[in-house]
Every structure is written in structure tokens, then in C-alpha cells.
Amino acid sequence: MILTPAHWEAVLEQARREYPREACGILAGRAGPPQRVERIYPMTNADHSPATYLMDPQEQFRVFKEMRRDGLDLVAIYHSHTASPAYPSRRDRDLAFYPEAVYLIVTLQERERPAGRAFRILDQDRVEEVPFQVAG
């Protein structure tokens, strides 16, 4: 998956802004390969929680319709971890219903050194890391 520096910075900025709550959003673009991000949709964490996230369904409907109108694919679903590594938790895997999407996780465990990793979550026990690249 390829993100521009501006998209990557926007994800990190949102994660920092919403800390200590988990931040979440959708990346839209070309399903590829290669998967290329063209638009970022920061979403409201309806849980407003440092430990869980759930996107607001009303916003999901709006974003899905807009992506369809603009001919964009769902590329990735991202969220932040505030106190654990950038790896899908049990609950992240249980609530992964888009096997075609990349699940991008950003960790602010070390606040000065945010890090991200990307995965495909095929089912609870099948998680595959996906290379992701920040490039203009």
C-alpha cells in the first residue's frame, strides 16, 4: 500500500490529537495492485474510548456513498493504539469484516516515535502483514 507523506502525516496528526482516545478512519483510493491511497476520511470514534473504537455508522454511510460517487475503492481502515504495539488485538480481529481492506494500525506507545504497520485480517487466526510505503 502506498500513502503520500501528506496522508501519512494526517493519520499521525489525528492519532496525536485524539490521544488518549483511539483515533480511526478510512483511506480511499485504488484497490490496485498496487493499493494507492488518494483520500483520507478521519472518522468519529463513536466509543470515545482509549481502549476501543467503533466508527459512527452515519459517517460510514456518507463516506461509502461519496467513494462510490467519486469512483474510489476502500483501501484501508486505520486506527491508533495508545498503549500497545501496532498489531491487531483479539478484538480488532473479531471486528474485521472487510477482508479485502488493509488494516493500518498506528501506535503511540512511544509518543515521540509513532510507528505504523499494515495487515490483512482474513479471520481471527489469519493475519498477514502488508508492506506499506510512504511515497510522493
Binding site: Y53, K65, S89, Y98
Partner: protein
């Protein structure tokens, strides 16, 4: 009868409720949100909402997660 599901036309050959539509698409009601003609339905409405010609149905799966309890 023709309806639209996530923007795609679909031909229904039987009277269909939202509950039946979800079942047919193997989408568990407890992990989706459903909108018909721009109105979000409550889960209790799925079994009694019958689709009509031209209805626009949107189905999204939950996007969520979190730390282990």
C-alpha cells in the same frame, strides 16, 4: 422487483424483508448497519421492513476494534 444494494441493481424474485436480505447475503444483523432510502434502521425493524420497487439499501459492516478486556 428491482432494488439497489450498495448502489448495485439487484432483481428480487420474492417478497423480501431486510432480515431475509441479510440472511441471503450471509451478513449477521449484529455486525451491520442498514439504511433504506437514506434512513438508518433499528435492528428491530429488519424483520418487518419489506423492500419495495426502487428502494436503495445500504449495508455497511462494523468497523471497530480495541484492546482485550
Amino acid at each position: 422487483m428491482k432494488v439497489f444494494i450498495n448502489g448495485k441493481p439487484d432483481e428480487l424474485d420474492e417478497v423480501m424483508t431486510i432480515a431475509r436480505l441479510l440472511e441471503r447475503r450471509k451478513a449477521r444483523p449484529e455486525i451491520v448497519s442498514v439504511e433504506v432510502n437514506d434512513r438508518i434502521l433499528q435492528r428491530e425493524e429488519y424483520a418487518k421492513t419489506i423492500l419495495r420497487e426502487g428502494d436503495a439499501v445500504e449495508i455497511v459492516f462494523f468497523m471497530g476494534g480495541g484492546r482485550e478486556a
